[in-house]
Symmetry: C2
Subunit: 400 residues, 2 copies
């Protein structure tokens, strides 16, 4: 029997046990080369075949249009906060933009988009335009991000000819997420954007939990692997050709999309081990899709259904707890994340501790909210199973 | 019996089998947390203790002075090519330097220092001064780097008040290396530098193969982990306090030494898995040192002795081969790398292929030279054992 606990952590986060067991074999001997995956040359034919398969599987799962590239980079979201500014500004200039400080539109709906916006401001290369910032003051006097804004509140505020328009699909810390359903007022207002708008999305926590709606409205989508698909140390960048083919000497090579495109992500040694495990996760997603009757190109829809199902279950238990005065959701109706459900335990720190330690005694870890906001956070990434969610709900009911 | 081959690859490269076996346990369950190392929060107490141990062990092994920080970053040498320029220029300005384009001195002895120099030129932020470039034309008409220059050829050419002075200790592609013995003419001319000179060393391939001579002459030493101590995806930066405490808005956050210092390398999610395996390798180095009668602070000396021993054996066989007209060394006497011994097989491509495929048949892989220079390259990183080296030499003798 496994000595592993249930991991509701927000990232790095749970990976499928089967993948980890398989990865152990690869660590010692990658595909019968007699060399472990962490020891093999990134220039070897074996690894090259592998990384191309990872790319292909990602393209298939996402149903990625041909004019987008998939890039594998290092540095996480933090590196991309800077990289998107530098690469999008280069593109702005290359297409004839002449503003000395081009407009850069940021939609701030939580801690991560706020960090991205602050990095853009700090770099000082453009005119950062926060077209909406949803931060409010909660009942307890603390600052909080608790909702996705209504289209009407910002859809007319986009700059004329911005170098980039930035949003974060899912805010891991705050538990708010744009709705995939365009009819919903908490979706992203794609309709309001002109064709070819330089839209950048941080997809980190949602990436590969479900299909990406309106991929073709985006210039750049990026995601850290360490939520749904792999270990930390790997960042996936999906970039449309016209934004990828700009070389600019002001961009440090490690942040240049063009350097990654030209080398097919092998300019220098990539994070081989993280790419390997991510590749195993993607293979497994295709297999599990097939086991559930989905062709390869529909496998991600299957995961999307599971995602909705798991979040619905937790939210139902939360609602019940709210009705009984035990729990208190932190996020407004319609804005809740399907990846990270956040709530408070009524009764202060002691009650919160009681809830978290009770969960740990029952083999469930990672439920503490982000240090900046406190409370409970239930992360429901792909590797968290419905059975595990059921166990949590059973405990939530017991606790009530 | 293990199905693993002998791996003489240049990086990513061999790791100790014992470490990989141990890492498998950690992949599934890190230190009895019930959570695998690739799945655990980098903010958890368990991981924080671990990363501090990795740092401490590195400090002990290197006998690092107190006024140096150890930082864990992503992006490899390529990211550091840019990072050193940005951080050293920031330091230059913070101490009152006023040149619009400060001098940056580069010592070019091979492919990697050349790349670093080109990145500095490309960024265009300083006046790149190549004070020596050892590239020559080989007998076959190809460009080659085949030696470490004599002190006299450049020790008086350092700029007045440079923002940085850059060298690469060991050139992995070309197989040349600065000598640790200051008496040797192929050592680095530390004596010629004024106190506090902003000396930067790329230590990637040599890092942890032996003690670093004259650490305290350096402002920055950096190394990719994927040679002697771990998987790709982790870069170690050792930086003296006065160069680490400069904040400058022009530096992308992911490349800022100060951001790493202030957060103790935990500004954002670090490459947890690579740090973990590196930590296991360092623990093992201390153990093996102890097994060979060395106290912790002398363990790296033991590795240094092994390094010298392994390289001497291969070089002796190479000499023998040269005498018999079978092999031909590519590097001038006194400049040879102890990490990467490079040579040609006399008789052209067919003979080379015969040598490499014969080795593969005998379970020895990774002997092909870098695609830019061809020939044979024998990499002798820490995880390559003396027994394995003996097996190669036996084969070299057979081949003769």
């Amino acid at each position: 029997m496994s000595d592993r606990v249930i991991n509701f952590g927000a990232g790095p986060s749970a990976l499928p046990e089967e993948v980890l067991t398989e990865a152990c074999k690869g660590l010692l001997n990658f595909q019968n080369t007699g060399i472990g995956i962490a020891e093999i040359s990134h220039r070897s034919a074996d690894f090259n075949r592998y990384i191309r398969e990872v790319e292909e599987n990602m393209r298939t799962l996402l149903q990625l249009p041909q004019d987008y590239k998939v890039l594998f980079a290092q540095g996480g979201g933090t590196a991309q906060f800077s990289a998107v500014v530098l690469n999008m500004l280069a593109r702005y200039r290359s297409r004839g933009g002449t503003a000395e400080k081009p407009a850069m539109d940021y939609i701030v709906t939580g801690s991560w988009s706020e960090k991205a916006m602050k990095e853009a401001k700090r770099l000082g290369l453009g005119d950062v335009n926060v077209i909406v910032n949803t931060q409010t003051i909660a009942d307890d006097g603390k600052k909080t991000f608790n909702h996705i804004p209504d289209h009407d509140s910002y859809k007319n505020k986009f700059s004329q000819d911005p170098a980039l328009i930035y949003y974060c699909v899912n805010e891991t810390v705050d538990g708010v997420e744009f709705n995939d359903d365009l009819e919903s007022p908490t979706s992203f207002p794609f309709d309001s954007l002109p064709d070819g708008a330089p839209l950048v999305a941080d997809y980190s926590s949602s990436f590969m939990s479900r299909p990406i709606p309106y991929i073709d409205k985006h210039a750049v989508i990026y995601a850290g692997a360490q939520k749904n698909i792999g270990p930390a140390g790997l960042t996936i960048i999906i970039v449309r050709d016209e934004w990828a083919n700009v070389s600019d000497n002001s961009i440090p090579l490690c942040l240049s999309y063009k350097a990654l495109v030209d080398s097919r992500s092998l300019y220098n040694t990539p994070p081989v081990l993280s790419i390997y495990i991510t590749g195993l996760v993607l293979r497994r997603m295709l297999e599990i899709g097939a086991q559930n009757g989905r062709p390869r190109e529909k496998a991600l829809e299957y995961y999307g259904e599971r995602t909705v199902q798991k979040a619905s279950k937790v939210n139902a238990a939360l609602k019940e707890g709210e009705a009984r005065g035990i729990f208190k959701g932190k996020v407004l109706e319609g804005s809740g994340s399907k990846m990270n459900v956040v709530f408070d335990v009524v009764g202060g720190e002691d009650k919160l501790k009681e809830f978290v330690s009770g969960a740990e005694q029952r083999g469930m870890k990672g439920l503490k909210g982000h240090r900046s906001v406190g409370g409970v956070r239930v992360s429901l990434y792909n590797a968290v199973t419905e059975d595990q969610v059921d166990k949590l709900i059973q405990y939530m009911n017991q606790f009530m």
